[in-house]
């Protein structure tokens, strides 16, 4: 059985972070544990977890880690957007098999912190985060930052 302290990433594992607040300095618990422990404020979501189970407790959670065991498993992108759509404002961290080419999509889905298994090249990452000068579709970034989609810009609409 995995102890809660074995779990999750430490602040040192975070290579990129787009937040100013204090980092959570203890380990995350599983979703199952979080539902039991009323004081858990850091949770780790695995691909098969239902992120919506956390919705009743979002205001007490400061960190959600979403695990990508393989970069090809895209379930975490949906989990991230779902949490942001539910109003989650805490840190949303992508962990695991996170490579350069996923960074921009992850950012668009609401991730603001990244703890890849393998350290990424800083220059490549900077370029990757700047990939989308414009975007076609609504996602967490358009809702959170007031970024407008191409369609909205075409018609002087939205933000």
């Amino acid at each position: 059985m995995v102890e809660p302290t074995d779990f999750g990433t430490s602040p040192d594992d975070v290579q990129f972070r787009f937040r100013d607040d204090e980092r959570v300095d203890h380990a995350a618990v599983t979703v199952d544990s979080a539902l039991d422990q009323t004081n858990a404020n850091a949770v780790r979501i695995e691909p098969s977890d239902d992120a919506r189970l956390l919705i009743p407790f979002l205001d007490r959670i400061a960190l959600v880690e979403i695990n990508f065991p393989a970069f090809t498993d895209g379930r975490g992108y949906s989990a991230a957007r779902i949490l942001r759509e539910a109003g989650y404002e805490g840190e949303l961290r992508a962990v695991g098999d996170v490579l350069i080419d996923q960074l921009s999509h992850m950012r668009r889905c609401g991730f603001d912190s990244f703890a890849p298994d393998k350290v990424l090249d800083e220059e490549d990452a900077k370029r990757a985060f700047a990939t989308w000068e414009n975007v076609y579709q609504v996602a967490a970034d358009t809702s959170l930052t007031g970024r407008r989609t191409i369609a909205q810009k075409r018609h002087g609409a939205g933000a």
Partner: protein
């Protein structure tokens, strides 16, 4: 047709620059093949049997003469003088060099084309009716909706790592000319009480386990089209199987949950997404629709001079009724008897471009049956058009006949294949042309796949042939009774397989049985449905 604005152009240009950098890093060894593979697949570049293969997107099968000319030039400049039109309305080049790939993409970008998302576990090219905007039986032109969905699906951040590939089709008529029910999502634009809306069918597909998509919603208002599609995709991304590559398509999810439960989950997600403002402003649909208005049709003669019998046959087989009575849609056959289905030389592509400019308001369509359409041809221009097609070897009057065979590239080109499909198609079309049976058989859709991935759509063939590997040798299974049209059905295997000579004999036997047993006006598929499999089995196996 749709034209890029500066946002669309900038998007495509940026992707070319990105890919150029990725290819350079691969050639310099800064990226391994494992790292590079998903990147090149996102730009449609496969490593295939003989070389790199590039699949260029032709959105909902629509292109203009400038684009078709470029496709021909690319064939000559970078490939071996030809390209192959596919069963998803795209084009493939078989002899591409990695060192040229970025230049090809750059050339394509100058004519508003690309190879984005033609591969990989993402949303692929959105297909449509090849007679869209011309057919007499449409509720509306479905292509504006296809274009809206194309933009929505391009670089979608949530749906770029799906369990498997995802194929969407949009039509707008009762007749299904695009195999809509055999797509992951099939959309039919309908009218209810004077209001247009979208019927959603989800969970169709061919491949190893063919399934017909059940209806998930009968009417989605058009100002919720994108939101509903997003709901369907999100449920799939969250719950589609990821443990087994062969069970990862949405059809398996819908089948395992049951259509009712899948629908319930979609409706729940849809209700949630409505509040998230996912839908583009309605003005965007209006803006796109403006690109799909009717060309300036002229009045003119509505009847055809049928005195030339060869011309008359071509008109009967290869033209389709148009919504304007002085026009027809004309099919350019890429199925010359004994030829390679769907292939066209650079020269032929440039000719088709010229013909489109002269005869069809500069518009061309690619059919999923691997032929090409000039959608708006004046009836009085038909003789002149036909003469040029005939001379160029593009005038075979065989649309929807047994010579109009759909064949995947097969073992001659594809590393997934178990058997060759093209030589079979060549021999069958030659045989039936020689015996004169093609004409007598009438509508007969024969489809050949070289492996179980079913890119030749054999499950939907009136006669389907599947190539398999039998103890290291090519072997062929015969199936009967499939249909991709609105009377959609999946073909059934007749029994034990045959070698190449044997399967050609088998096709002869089943068509002979049809000719002997048919009643008036029955097509092969109708006779099969009336008689059932038994008489055909009897004829084949004794």
């Amino acid at each position: 047709m749709y034209a890029y604005d500066r946002y669309d152009q900038a998007m495509v240009d940026a992707r070319v620059a990105e890919f150029r950098d990725q290819a350079r890093r691969r050639l310099e060894g800064k990226l391994t093949e494992d790292q590079f593979k998903p990147l090149r697949l996102m730009n449609g570049l496969y490593l295939q049997l003989h070389a790199y293969m590039l699949r260029v997107a032709i959105p909902y099968g629509t292109l203009n003469s400038r684009q078709m000319t470029m496709l021909g030039d690319i064939a000559d400049r970078y490939d071996r003088g030809y390209g192959h039109f596919t069963t998803r309305q795209n084009i493939q080049y078989n002899w591409i060099k990695l060192e040229d790939a970025a230049d090809i993409l750059a050339d394509l970008a100058t004519v508003e084309m690309h190879a984005i998302q033609t591969s990989g576990n993402c949303i692929r090219n959105i297909s449509s009716d090849h007679f869209a905007g011309a057919a007499h039986d449409e509720v509306t032109d479905p292509r504006p909706y296809a274009e809206l969905l194309r933009q929505w699906s391009s670089f979608h951040p949530e749906f770029s790592y799906l369990p498997r590939k995802f194929k969407i089709c949009v039509i707008a008529s009762e007749r299904d000319r695009a195999a809509m029910r055999l797509h992951d999502i099939g959309i039919r634009i309908v009218e209810r009480d004077g209001e247009p809306g979208a019927q959603f069918f989800v969970g169709g597909g061919m491949g190893r386990t063919p399934m017909i998509a059940p209806m998930v919603r009968d009417f989605v208002p058009l100002d919720h089209l994108v939101t509903y599609a997003e709901a369907c995709l999100r449920v799939y991304n969250r719950y589609g199987r990821r443990d087994n590559k062969y069970k990862a398509r949405i059809k398996i999810l819908v089948h395992e949950l049951g259509a009712e439960e899948y629908t319930r989950q979609v409706e729940e997600e849809f209700a949630h997404l409505i509040d998230q403002g996912v839908e583009p402003p309605f003005a965007e649909l209006e803006r796109i629709r403006a690109y799909f208005g009717d060309p300036p049709f002229d009045d003119g003669p509505k009847t055809i001079d049928r005195s030339d019998p060869d011309f008359a046959v071509w008109v009967d087989r290869n033209t389709h009724r148009h919504k304007h009575d002085a026009y027809v849609s004309a099919v350019i056959s890429l199925k010359p008897v004994g030829g390679i289905p769907g292939d066209a030389t650079g020269e032929q592509m440039r000719l088709m471009a010229r013909l489109a400019r002269e005869f069809s308001f500069d518009e061309i369509r690619v059919m999923h049956t691997q032929n090409v359409v000039l959608p708006h041809v004046r009836i009085c221009d038909l003789p002149k058009l036909w003469a040029q097609l005939h001379e160029a070897g593009l005038g075979a009057p065989n649309m929807d006949t047994i010579e109009d065979i759909i064949a995947c590239p097969g073992l001659d080109y594809c590393s997934l294949a178990n058997a060759r499909s093209i030589p079979l198609a060549q021999r069958i079309s030659e045989r039936f042309d020689k015996s004169g049976k093609t004409e007598r058989l009438g509508e007969l859709k024969l489809k050949i796949s070289g492996c179980i991935n079913a890119c030749g759509h054999h499950h939907a063939g009136h006669i389907g042939i599947l190539g398999v590997d039998r103890k290291g040798k090519e072997n062929y299974q015969l199936s009967l009774g499939g249909s991709e049209a609105e009377d959609v059905s999946l073909a059934k295997i007749t029994g034990p397989g045959f070698d190449e000579d044997g399967v050609i004999e088998a096709v002869e036997k089943v068509t002979d049985l049809y000719l002997a047993q048919r009643t008036e006006n029955e097509r092969f598929i109708d006779t099969y449905r009336r008689l059932g499999m038994e008489p055909f089995k009897e004829a084949l196996y004794g």
